[in-house]
């Protein structure tokens, strides 16, 4: 049950074979500071600043004292100067590092399993022929519409029956079902030329062999993108981990941090500090892997023709 808000879409067209360059070369005759380019740059810069501002505000608020944060003073640094109190308060309460570790462990497990089983299934839909194939595929696509809130209560009773409540596996297993990923990967595999496999199969390689040695290496970019989107969804998931885990030492980061924030009073600085802390690991992941993400989405081959 992948809870990515938006799922990456199908590859519409064959990869053009051209490496995705993030920057279109300047066309002949185009001046670097042509008025239209400058205007475009200004608009782009304004948009980007507008998009970054809310998060930067949150970060700045996290460094203020509670009084400053609630005072309504819009300046970046509070009247009492910057302080680490809010961050300190969040980090010292509860088991923040343990929760981060739990999140890491479970998110990685979910990602690995989801990508593995989705790729296998997608390959079957793409290359293999079997009875009921069309209807099965339709059923899987229909499942994309299902919101997780509808599933979790029956799912919880199921986990109770399997005795998996309050365990890592109880947390992980329901989250490995990602029909959208199967859909995307199938579309990608469809676009891979079949001769590559045909040659190997004529030589006697098994399906599994072909899958492992030919298809997977070719699919690295799309697999990386799928992996990253699954990871983000798993990391940020709140409702299911909240329901299935009671043990404070097994909680994931979003769940654990919610228990640290005061119930009654609203302490803005702490709330923002908590928001920043919860988001930090993912931002780091994105910064490190952003090239792969963009490349992956690009070479999955959208648009064109």
């Amino acid at each position: 049950m992948s809870t990515a808000t938006l799922s990456p879409t199908e590859a519409v067209v064959v990869p053009s074979g051209r490496s995705a360059r993030s920057r279109r070369p300047r066309l002949p005759g185009q001046k670097p500071f042509a008025p239209l380019r400058v205007v475009a740059f200004v608009i782009l810069a304004l948009l980007a600043i507008g998009w970054l501002l809310p998060f930067l505000w949150a970060v700045a608020t996290g460094f203020k004292t509670e009084t400053d944060a609630a005072s309504g003073d819009p300046s970046w640094i509070g009247a009492s100067g910057p302080t680490l109190d809010a961050f300190g308060a969040i980090l010292s309460q509860g088991n923040v590092y343990l929760w981060a570790w739990n999140s890491l462990l479970t998110s990685v497990a979910i990602t690995v399993i989801t990508v593995a089983i989705s790729a296998l299934a997608a390959y079957a839909f793409s290359r293999l022929d079997f009875r009921g194939r069309k209807w099965l595929f339709v059923a899987i696509i229909a499942a994309i519409v299902v919101p997780p809130q509808v599933l979790i209560i029956p799912l919880f009773y199921e986990m109770l029956a399997f005795n998996l409540v309050d365990t890592y596996w109880g947390l992980i297993l329901p989250q490995v079902v990602a029909p959208a990923m199967v859909f995307i990967l199938k579309k990608f595999f469809d676009a891979v030329p079949i001769e590559l496999e045909d040659a190997a199969r004529v030589d006697g390689a098994s399906r599994l062999r072909v899958f492992w040695s030919i298809i997977l290496p070719l699919s690295r970019p799309i697999l990386a993108s799928v992996a990253i989107f699954v990871f983000i969804g798993a990391w940020n998931n709140f409702l299911w981990p909240f329901l299935v885990i009671n043990d404070t030492t097994l909680m994931t980061l979003p769940v654990g941090l919610q228990t640290v924030i005061s119930a009654y009073g609203v302490q803005y600085a702490q709330v923002m500090a908590q928001a920043v802390l919860a988001a930090l690991p993912l931002i780091v992941v994105f910064l490190v892997f952003q090239k792969q993400i963009v490349k992956g989405v690009a070479t999955s081959g959208f648009g064109g023709q």
Partner: protein, 313 residues
């Protein structure tokens, strides 16, 4: 990129290029298929299909989350759902949200991608700025935007005041609270569509632009005549996914309006959640869910029939 039809037939057993036409499945291939599918299908059956079936069963009972109830009540829950004004209001709120948010989410992402695709310096910064909100959890963005929309000390009203305008009670006023949620959602998820559009644009062969440039077409003209027309398929996909995601609206609307049950922002999923989680009426909650699905399926099927008829024509 052509394949010899005969080679394909030998290797795959498929006699035509249409992947969906069965060509007499060979037993071995059947078994291999199921082996590949098994892990996913087991998980799918256990963790998706079974809960749905169980939920459908429960929708015919008065099952409560507290363990009480559980007797079959026939169609009573469905009758109640269809005559429940809050249910219809929630459905309308969801549709309204979808209409309000889809346009900016598609248009803005297109503009952003077009600007970034020009190859202006600072690529990583633009990508980070627009995509970064997507990395944040719903609780985080809700907290940030509740803070921004705070009538006394929030940045939104500070900007309004600086412009000489009246401050608004963004999230509290029924006239503006859905709009506030739309704004927060656009900020949160536009980065995803942006990436998709960017990728689509980067797959357009530069030769086309070179040729147009040699013919004397300016940047604006090139965008209109070369880029835009080729974004058709990407746009259709983004639209479909956007609409599907919008219909599932819950997290940010619920969290940003947490303290006051708002008739103007309660989405259908929120009503499902409230009926089950807050009022403990799981049977009723399930009935509402399946009414919702039925509606989506009806619309989806209708849309598919219409497009097919158009294609045939």
């Amino acid at each position: 990129m052509t394949t010899t039809a005969s080679t394909r037939a030998v290797v795959t057993g498929r006699k035509s290029s249409d992947p969906f036409r069965p060509a007499g499945p060979r037993r071995r291939e059947q078994l291999v298929s199921w082996a590949f599918l098994a892990p996913f299908l087991i998980a799918f059956a256990l963790f998706l299909v079974w809960p749905i079936l169980h939920g459908i069963y429960l929708s015919f009972t008065d099952q409560s989350l507290t363990g009480a109830g559980g007797d079959l009540v026939g169609f009573a829950n469905y009758a109640e759902a269809l005559s429940d004004p809050v249910m219809w209001q929630s459905l309308w709120n969801t549709v309204w949200f979808t209409l309000l948010s889809t346009v900016p989410l598609v248009a803005l992402s297109l503009i952003m991608a077009a600007l970034v695709d020009r190859g202006l310096p600072g690529q990583w910064l633009w990508r980070l700025s627009f995509f970064m909100p997507y990395l944040l959890a719903s609780t985080v963005i809700s907290q940030i935007w509740v803070w921004i929309f705070n009538p006394q000390i929030g940045a939104a009203n500070n900007i309004l005041k600086a412009l000489g305008l009246q401050p608004l009670a963004w999230l509290q006023n029924p006239d503006t609270n859905m709009l506030s949620i739309v704004i927060a959602t656009v900020w949160w998820t536009v980065g995803f569509n942006f990436l998709l559009y960017l990728a689509a644009m980067q797959n357009i062969p530069p030769q086309q632009y070179e040729a147009a440039s040699l013919d004397g077409a300016g940047a604006w003209r090139q965008f209109w005549s070369i880029t835009l027309p080729q974004l058709g398929p990407a746009t259709v996909l983004i639209l479909i996914l956007q609409i599907l995601a919008s219909l599932k609206l819950f997290d940010q609307a619920y969290q940003m309006l947490g303290g006051v049950a708002s008739d103007t922002t309660r989405s259908i999923v929120q009503y499902i959640f409230e009926s089950g989680f807050v009022n403990y009426r799981f049977g009723y909650s399930a009935a509402i869910s399946y009414v919702f699905f039925a509606l989506i399926i009806i619309i989806g099927v209708a849309q598919a029939l219409v497009t097919r008829r158009r294609k045939v024509q």
